[in-house]
């Protein structure tokens, strides 16, 4: 399905933020965030170290609840099904064995032959990051929420993941929190924190 058609067939995603606050230990992490961001494919969350990118992404994922205010991610006025990817790739795995991880994610081993018989602890930082992204991109959820997809990836892998995100965003919505600029020119909307 090409770009033009898709716009007509599927309405866009709406990320609606209504005076969202997130307070932890009496410290305000996200303050009075409001606005409506719409996108068909890709929306970015940008900002400096520690500004709350991950916190916002986790609120969108439903992992954190705002201290006050409302937030929703909808299409056709219905809350979307979301898949969240942690920035620290170690947090994306629970069993330690890659074959088991793939089974939990409901994915066939065939697409991941390179990883057959390997354990999570055997992979380098960048290899583990790449695998987290590959698993997420295969998910059948409507929207992927990916925290720092390029961290720890070398130059070649960064380009490869860029291409993957670009092509998967033709089929699904993707929200990415990142301090890299590589996605800027294809993002339809950006939240600056």
């Amino acid at each position: 399905m090409n770009k033009e058609n898709r716009g007509k067939v599927n309405p866009p995603f709406f990320l609606t933020l209504d005076t969202v606050n997130y307070v932890k230990n009496h410290q305000s992490i996200i303050t009075e965030l409001s606005g409506i961001k719409s996108f068909y494919k890709l929306c970015l969350i940008k900002g400096r170290v520690g500004c709350g990118k991950t916190t916002l992404l986790k609120m969108i994922a439903g992992i954190y609840t705002p201290s006050s205010g409302d937030l929703s991610l909808t299409r056709n006025n219905r809350e979307c099904l979301k898949y969240f990817v942690h920035a620290n790739p170690e947090f994306n795995f629970v069993t330690g064995n890659i074959a088991d991880e793939l089974q939990i994610a409901g994915l066939s081993q065939e697409k991941f032959v390179d990883y057959a018989n390997r354990d999570v602890s055997e992979l380098s930082g960048g290899e583990l990051k790449k695998l987290s992204i590959l698993i997420a991109l295969e998910s059948d959820r409507e929207v992927l929420l990916i925290d720092e997809p390029f961290e720890m990836l070398d130059d070649t892998e960064m380009d490869a993941v860029y291409e993957l995100i670009k092509s998967v965003s033709e089929k699904k919505g993707i929200i990415v929190a990142t301090h890299e600029n590589i996605l800027d020119h294809i993002a339809e909307n950006v939240i600056f924190l």
Binding site: N25, G50, A87, G126, E151, D155, T156
Partner: protein, 188 residues
């Protein structure tokens, strides 16, 4: 000379991770280990720290354990204390230095929080800046990942000032843009 590495090799499950790597780290030198994902950078550092065995070769480290500071690729693995303040205090000599770290890492209002609650970039900034207050010889695995442009610039400047005035640093990177400021480059 602080470190002399002679022809070290590492094989895991019959796969050569790296072979015959030799280099030295001199006093006041900034050494970069560059290689793509899975090229063996972390593995090499683990060999130098005796956390894993090498197959061949040898190295000589002219320093005692308390003169060496290490920040791993996943800084979580370094967290030992309940609060950010205690974590930093355990790494530096005096409270002025601790304050300096908190300021530079922008953590002044986070002193009482758990280090685990910090963002990935904040954890890295905290450890790297704290280690630079004290030790003579620093080993940083991917110090520039998970940082925004401003923080990255600050860390590069700190690393350059450190090697000029205080000691030596070995750091790794898998990005070509982060090798230019090193005195010596080891490619894996």
């Amino acid at each position: 000379m602080y470190l002399n590495v002679k022809k070290i090799s590492k094989t895991i499950n019959n796969r050569h991770i790296f072979s015959d790597v030799s280099f030295t780290v001199d006093v006041n030198e900034l050494v970069c280990i560059y290689g793509k994902n899975g090229s063996g950078k972390t593995c090499l550092l683990r060999c130098l720290l005796n956390l894993t065995k090498m197959d061949n070769g040898s190295f000589f480290l002219k320093l005692t354990a308390d003169q060496i500071g290490v920040c791993f690729q996943f800084p979580e693995h370094l967290i030992y204390h309940r609060t950010v303040q205690e974590e930093i205090a355990s790494l530096v000599d005096d409270s002025d230095k601790a304050l300096n770290v908190m300021e530079k890492a922008n953590l002044k209002d986070k002193g009482g929080n758990s280090p685990l609650s910090l963002s990935e970039g904040q954890k890295r900034l905290m450890f790297i800046l704290a280690l630079m207050q004290k030790d003579k010889f620093l080993i940083f695995d991917e110090p520039l990942t998970s940082l925004d442009q401003e923080s990255k610039k600050m860390i590069i400047e700190e690393m350059l000032a450190y090697k000029k005035n205080r000691g030596s640093i070995i750091y790794t990177t898998n990005r070509i843009e982060d090798i230019y400021f090193a005195d010596k480059l080891i490619c894996l």
